[in-house]
Structures are given as C-alpha cells and as structure tokens.
C-alpha cells in the first residue's frame, strides 16, 4: 500500500505513539481490503459510546487512547448516542454507577476533540458532508444515509476505525469509496407506495435480509421524505450489511446508472404484503404494551412536530419517550414541540436512545415503536418484547 511521507511519519511514530496506533489500524484495514493508498477525509462519525455496549474493556481502551495526547485532525467529527441524557438522566431511572462510567467515556472523547453530539443523525446536527466527499462514518444507519441520501462516500466503518480516521485525517481507499462499487446490483421494483415510516423501514429490513451485502436500486417508490429514507436505510443496515442504496429519481447518484447497468442487475419485486409480513415477524402479536419509544434513528424536527400536534389536548396513559439529537431538541423546544409532548405526559430525551441505554431496570415487558431497527435489537440488548406500529397508531393506543 502506498503511503505519503507524512503518512509514513505518522506510522513510524514520529508524531507519537497514539497517532502511530491509529495509522497501524488503518494500514491493516487497507491491506486486508487491498487499498492502493490512503485518502483524506472531510468528516467522521464515531460509534461505540454507550457504557452499556462497550463496557469496561471499551472504557479502558478509550482512556488509553486519550492518554496518548492525540487530537482529532478532522474538525467535523461527531459522536453517536451515549447511554444517557446528560441532563435528564435521573428521569430515565439510571443507576449512579452507570452515569459515572458513561461520563468517563464522554470525557475521554472530549479530550481527543470529538464533538459530543451524541446522536445517530449527525447530518441533522451540523455534520453534513457534500456529494463526493470522502468520509469515515460508523453507526450503520448514519453510514447508509451519508452514502445514499447525501452522496458522500464511506465504508461501513467500525467505531474504532472511524476514530482512527478522525485522528489521522485518513482512510484507506477501497470499497464504497470507488466508483465501481457504488453501482447497483439488484433492482428492487416496489409495487406499492409506502404510507408511513414503518413501511419504509420494513421494506429496508426485508431487502437487507434477502440481499445482505448488495447495493439495491429501488424503483416505483415515488415520493419519500427524508425521514422515510432514514428508516429505509436503518432497516437495510440492521438485517443486513447494506450501506448504499439508490432510489430512482430521488437519491443523488441514481441518475448515474444508465439502463445498461440496471439491465445487468438482478431483479426483485416487492408487494406491500411482503413488507407487512416482515414487520409482523419482528413484532409481538399481543396488543398489550407498557411503553411507546420513538426516535430510532433520532427523530427530526418534523417528526417531533407531528408527535407534538397529535398530542395537543391529550394525555398519555403509558410511558412515552421520544429520542432526538440535542440540536434538534433545542429547535423543537423553541417552537414549543417539546412543551406540547411533555405537557401530554411524554418525555423528550437527547444524547441517547432506546437501543443503547440500559432499560432493564424499568421493568418493561413489551414496548411499542415505529422502528424496525429498534425492533431488531431491543429483544437482545434490553430484553423486552417489541410491538411495531406506525407513529400515530403508537400514540393513539396510549392517549
């Protein structure tokens, strides 16, 4: 693999052991995937933040990183959700010990210069790369969004390789950074128009399961707003390893693929019934649930608005938690959405989410959500049963 003089210096430890460690990791990756060289990255997003997920070994690893006195070179480096809302953690019922460990992790990230955005939607929190930019993003739902919807280029980075890229400013040049790997290789003809975010997420979940490592090209979808695209990608990236998709007449690279390229791709057709079945398989059959969790991936301002308006003049009869990024929260608060949701008895939380926060102590048996990604992970990460419904169905059922 070709390295510039500067990159060789980093590797050889001329700038310290911390930088050398990061470069070693990226060179190993580059060699495994036969990259010819490194390229500079303009933006990074780092996952692996919750103490619940990375535990003591992860905390020690990050601390050792921070001790090496490294700083991120890439200014636009954002962080994934942690295990707690930094302000409202008491209302989440989290144990003090957890809060203390989580705080140590956040301190380690702060020390290396990562912005503590604590969100899985960094593109709604000031980290929005341009089409064609090379970036190193982890967080599977964000990776697929930045590739597909924003048209920037990243591989499916792990939290650690994204951090190494933030510190060195480099990523190995391979995989989804190359034109040839961004071509669609399965054409999915969608025979229905999704009518809500669950159908969009369910479509992704189904296709990710059938074609776990492909680049799908969706046709027939018609209009999809950004929230539905976010759900589509989150589904694709949780049942499978999909990290790039195209939507006809919509996503930035879709128009690049002429008839020939698509003619060579495998064909697949999806009916609404197929998606319904995939969502049903993820969802508990019984109607009883103890809580509604929304915001996986983190809700946008529009989604918070919809929840707020729906709840005007209503009271919720069960626990309702809505997760978002702090920057969207601040806007939503200014516009009165947070007030409306909390007046109705709900709680709007930032910096964390239902999947990465320890919720075992809440005594929940079954939760209802609009997210296929959350439905995929929650039974194993938080040992709860999950019911999947559209956002309005979720809210109607408890208010």
């Amino acid at each position: 693999m070709y390295l510039t003089r500067e990159e060789e210096k980093m590797l050889d430890g001329e700038y310290g052991e911390g930088l050398a460690k990061c470069m070693r990791l990226l060179v190993v990756l580059g060699e495994i995937f036969e990259a010819e060289k490194m390229v500079r990255v303009k933006s990074c997003h780092v996952s692996g933040v919750s103490y619940k997920n990375i535990g003591e070994p992860g905390l020690e690893l990050l601390k050792s990183f921070a001790m090496e006195n490294v700083r991120v070179k890439v200014k636009k480096t954002t962080l994934n959700p942690s295990g707690m809302d930094r302000k409202k953690w008491r209302r989440m019922g989290l144990p003090e010990n957890f809060v203390q460990k989580q705080t140590e992790i956040l301190k380690a990230f702060k020390r290396v210069g990562v912005n503590l955005t604590c969100s899985c939607t960094p593109y709604l929190a000031g980290n929005k790369p341009k089409p064609g930019d090379y970036v190193a993003w982890s967080e599977s739902s964000a990776t697929v969004y930045v590739n597909s919807v924003l048209g920037a280029r990243t591989n499916r980075e792990s939290g650690l390789s994204a951090l190494a890229s933030a510190i060195t400013g480099r990523t190995p040049y391979y995989g989804y950074l190359l034109d040839e790997n961004r071509k669609p290789n399965v054409k999915v003809k969608v025979k229905f128009k999704p009518s809500n975010v669950v159908e969009a997420g369910g479509l992704g979940y189904l296709i990710g399961k059938i074609f776990p490592e492909r680049v799908p090209f969706f046709s027939g979808l018609g209009f999809m707003d950004f929230d539905w695209l976010k759900a589509l990608g989150a589904g694709l990236a949780s049942s499978g390893a999909v990290t790039l998709y195209h939507v006809e007449n919509l996503t930035p690279e879709a128009k690049l693929f002429d008839g020939k390229c698509l003619a060579e791709a495998e064909k697949f057709e999806v009916e609404r019934e197929d998606v319904k079945k995939a969502v049903e398989d993820l969802s508990e059959a019984e109607e009883r649930f103890d809580a509604v969790f929304l915001g996986c991936p983190h809700y946008s301002l529009n989604q918070l608005k919809d929840v707020a308006y729906f709840l005007r003049g209503r009271k919720v009869k069960a626990k309702l938690w809505v997760f978002t990024s702090r920057s969207v929260y601040v806007k939503a608060k200014g516009l009165g959405y947070v007030g409306l949701i909390e007046k109705a008895g709900g709680l709007v939380l930032c910096d964390t989410c239902m999947v990465v926060s320890p919720l075992e102590n809440l005594g929940l048996e079954c939760v209802c959500t609009d997210s296929c990604k959350a439905a995929h992970y929650l039974p194993s990460t938080n040992r709860v049963k999950v019911k999947v419904k559209s956002p309005f169905e979720c809210l109607e059922a408890i208010s």
Partner: protein, 135 residues
C-alpha cells in the same frame, strides 16, 4: 470422517485448533452475541442459543451494528471470544475487532468454508492461511 486442507488469506495471524461452529447467516456481534456469556442472542438467527466461546466460528461476513468491533474486543477481555473466525469475505467491522482483540481471522478460502466445514468438525488454523478440517 474426512480430512481436508483449505487455503485462505490469513488476516490476523494465529495458530489454533478447535471445534467448528458454522452458519450461512451473517453475524452482528452487537445485539447478536452476549459478550459476557458468549451466547448468540439474536432471536431469529440460525445460531440462536449456541455458544461461540472457544469455537472456530465460520460465517459469511459481518452485518448490522458498527459497535461489533468493540464487542469482539470485550469478548476477548472477558474470555468469551471465539478461538478464530473464518469468513467467506470479511468486512471492516469484523476485521477491526479481530485485529484489536488478536483473534485469528481468515477469509477467501479456495473452497467455500460454509459448505466444506460442518459444525462439530475439528479445525486447525495455521499462520500462513492454511486450514485443516477433520470431520
């Protein structure tokens, strides 16, 4: 009973011997495997309820969460990690996890490992990417 030699790319080098655990389905270590116990906990996975600890784990590639590398690293620290991983074609999240945790990793074997290696086979992994299978 049969004996088979396969040649692959040795990505994280190591020489180990153990029993194979094989699945044709991709794995997400985050949410898919409990790092404290080593059991597969993803509800609809072929390996649900199986323990990966000390096994030569054979699967196509990683899927899902980008936190998988941390989970592999934690498993190595807790002593619940697989002995080695054999992938059809590895992916960055598995590769970084194995490199960091020093779990031997081999991919791109000359014969499809998902078809030639069976759960329960005795598998020996060598430094240079050779794999011996006795089943």
């Amino acid at each position: 009973m049969g004996f088979l030699r396969l040649k692959g790319r040795s990505l994280v080098k190591g020489e180990v011997e153990g029993e194979a655990l094989v699945t044709s389905q991709p794995i997400s270590f985050f949410g898919g495997v409990n790092p404290k116990t080593g059991f597969v906990v993803e509800k609809n996975h072929e390996l649900y309820g199986e323990k990966v600890t000390g096994k030569i784990l054979v699967f196509p590639y990683g899927k899902g969460s980008s936190v998988g590398s941390y989970v592999l690293y934690a498993m190595a620290r807790y002593g619940t990690a697989p002995l080695a991983i054999i992938n059809l074609k590895t992916d960055p999240i598995i590769a970084v996890g194995c490199a960091l945790a020093n779990i031997p990793l081999i991919d791109r074997l000359d014969k499809n490992p998902l078809e030639t290696i069976k759960t329960g086979d005795k598998v020996k992994v060598f430094l240079d990417g050779w794999v011996e299978v006795e089943g």
